[in-house]
């Protein structure tokens, strides 16, 4: 009877609520930084997109005019339209990295002498900087001295200027981007293949599954987690595509290889830019697109954790 008040005296509010508070304390630094560097800037961008501001003088409130301008650029088939179209091409084409990565992973998933060396060589393009990848491919595509045209010339095809042709340029850059991205997907699948259950393969074999049927019905279902991650990083990678464009073409020729991320940079931060509000409006559009994908990913992860 007398023990209870004693306990209450000893236990401070903190001690009583330790269980509830502790996780929040541990999370606090993360939450703080995430809020300051991610969440708050998102709202700042939303806010800024309603202003016209050159980064120096006073910002002028213009309502949704920046978005109206974007709409007219869309209607006129101008820079915004090109960027959005190219973003779509990037999204679709970049996904090729997933089957290509899977193929190479299956190919490398064998035990022969020196396989580790081959694996690391295949992984190499992901290790080197995107800037280097961009430079290498710029030289590869060079219309006068480039290896590509030397190769084409050897089989009698007239030279093409990949990075100077407004219809080819985006595909040329995506191809350069696929090189490291395929390596990334390959590594994801290689680790996934390690976890494939040999007994199931054995069982499948007994049931007469071979080749493509084996891959489709036995291996791929077990690689689902790897595929999911490969899908996520590839989609995000495609939407973030910036460095290659900046290195290889600067958005040219005449702006035909722009994507939203590059256009935003060009408008807001480059030498001839400094329309901060307009750049923010583009950023908001890009954010909405990304948000669509991210929501889908989070939702499907959540569903998976709940076991459907």
């Amino acid at each position: 009877m007398s023990a209870a008040p004693d306990l209450a005296d000893r236990d401070s509010w903190f001690h009583r609520n330790q269980q509830t508070i502790a996780p929040w304390l541990f999370l606090a630094p993360g939450i703080l930084f995430f809020a300051v560097y991610v969440i708050i800037p998102i709202f700042q961008s939303f806010n800024l997109s309603l202003y016209e501001w050159d980064g120096l003088g006073a910002a002028e409130y213009v309502g949704v005019r920046n978005y109206e301008d974007l709409y007219w650029e869309w209607v006129d088939r101008d820079a915004f339209y090109t960027s959005l179209k190219n973003n779509l091409i990037w999204l679709l084409m970049y996904l090729l990295a997933i089957p290509a990565g899977l193929f190479i992973a299956l190919f490398l998933n064998q035990t022969v002498r020196g396989i580790r060396l081959y694996k690391s060589l295949f992984f190499f393009p992901f290790v080197i900087s995107q800037v280097v990848v961009g430079l290498v491919f710029t030289w590869f595509y060079d219309p006068t001295f480039g290896l590509l045209n030397v190769l084409l010339g050897a089989v009698g095809v007239p030279p093409i200027n990949v990075l100077g042709n407004e219809n080819l340029v985006t595909f040329g850059i995506i191809f350069a981007g696929l090189w490291p991205q395929t390596a990334y997907c390959m590594i994801l699948y290689l680790t996934g293949l390690n976890a494939v259950d040999p007994e199931q393969i054995e069982a499948g074999r007994l049931d007469g599954a071979r080749g493509v049927r084996m891959l489709w019905h036995i291996i791929l279902p077990q690689l689902r987690p790897a595929t999911f991650i490969a899908f996520v990083v590839t989609i995000i990678g495609a939407l973030r595509s910036f460095d290659l464009i900046s290195i290889m073409t600067q958005g040219g020729p005449f702006g035909s290889s722009r994507v939203l991320a590059f256009y935003m940079f060009e408008v807001a931060l480059s030498e001839y830019g400094f329309r901060m509000g307009y750049g923010a409006a583009i950023a908001v559009v890009l954010f909405m697109i990304m948000m669509g994908f991210i929501t889908y990913f989070l939702w499907s992860m959540y569903r998976e954790e709940r076991g459907y």
Partner: protein, 420 residues
Amino acid sequence: MHSSTKTALAAMAASLSLGFGAPASAELTGDLKIFLDTSNPAPRATMEAMIARFAEAHPGLEIETTVIDREAYKTQIRNFLTANAPDVATWYAANRMRPYVEAGLFEDVSDLWAEPAIADNLASTKGALTIDGKQWGVPYTYYQWGVYYRQDIFQELGLSKPTTWDEEKANCEKIVASGRACYTIGTKFLWTAGGWFDYLNMRTNGFDFHMDLASGNVSWEDERVRQTFANWRELIDMGGFIDNHQTYSWQEALPFMVNGDAAAYLMGNFAVAPLRDAGLSDDQLDFYQFVSINPDVELAEDAPTDTFHIPANAQNKDAAREFLRFAVSAPEQTIINDPDNLGQLPVNAQSQVADDKFLQQGFAMLSSNSPGGVAQFWDRDAPAEMAKVSMEGFQEFMVKPDNLDRILSKLERARQRIYK
């Protein structure tokens, strides 16, 4: 009455500054922070040597020099002018400095320009540093633009320096017939096409029209603008420009001229150094002024000017002013612009132009054969946004001349939005 008071005041100020000039400058103390964008090795060494000479004359000053990469500088200047301003910063003249002038970030240095040492000797560049009737900095170097050409190829084909548009086209036809391109150019970074537009438009419609267009007072769909593009198109249709120029930077376009695949290059004088380094001798390389097209308009030239400014938030403005005076003084101008240093034209009329055939020709051209006026360059005369859209249009036009109508209507829409 009014003006005579002004003159008297100016004279007084001048005598004051003359009288106290020496002792006052000896007393300069404190820190002097200088930010430079001269990041290439030769200009960097030149600037550091000049600052060392300044430091020697003012031992009481603690000078701190920061050299920033030339391209990075263009975006960083916006931050450091507001947040952590140096006492002296490099930049460019004309419209390029307007955003900072209008935001009140550059110090008004009209007082320096009232001093006779500057007023008398720097008159030629005063206009480029003037906005709203005040001067916002001082120039430290400038350079001519023009056609650098392979003299040996011209001799081989029996061509002479052209002076009229017809001669230019006749020359080009012969050069193309010999299996070469007339002009090398690399438009990947767009501005090189701006140089062609500057010259073609100034020669077709004159300096004043060109400036009106840069300030947004003329429609891009104007008949006169179309005439400029029609002239340009003659060279394009002839095959005058190298193929695939949209993939090259201006440096990557140099080998075409060095290897003799192209006969000429419309460029600033800074192209001479790499061309010489690549092995072209002065017998092979020569210069001519861009030909006249419309005989009714006066010749005008591009001569971009690099400048020093004092940020409004500078801490040591006295020392900064002294540094500006020092940088434009005749002896310093002679030294920093000689071929061992910047290799460009001095801004001070009292200083010596180096004994270099390109600088001599450029100096003669700008001082006596450019009656129409001196422009800074398209991307410095036009507002940044307009410059960007239009140069993209020029590039597209050079690759696909048939798109001209679409390009011009796009530029016209941009004009209506940008100038408002």
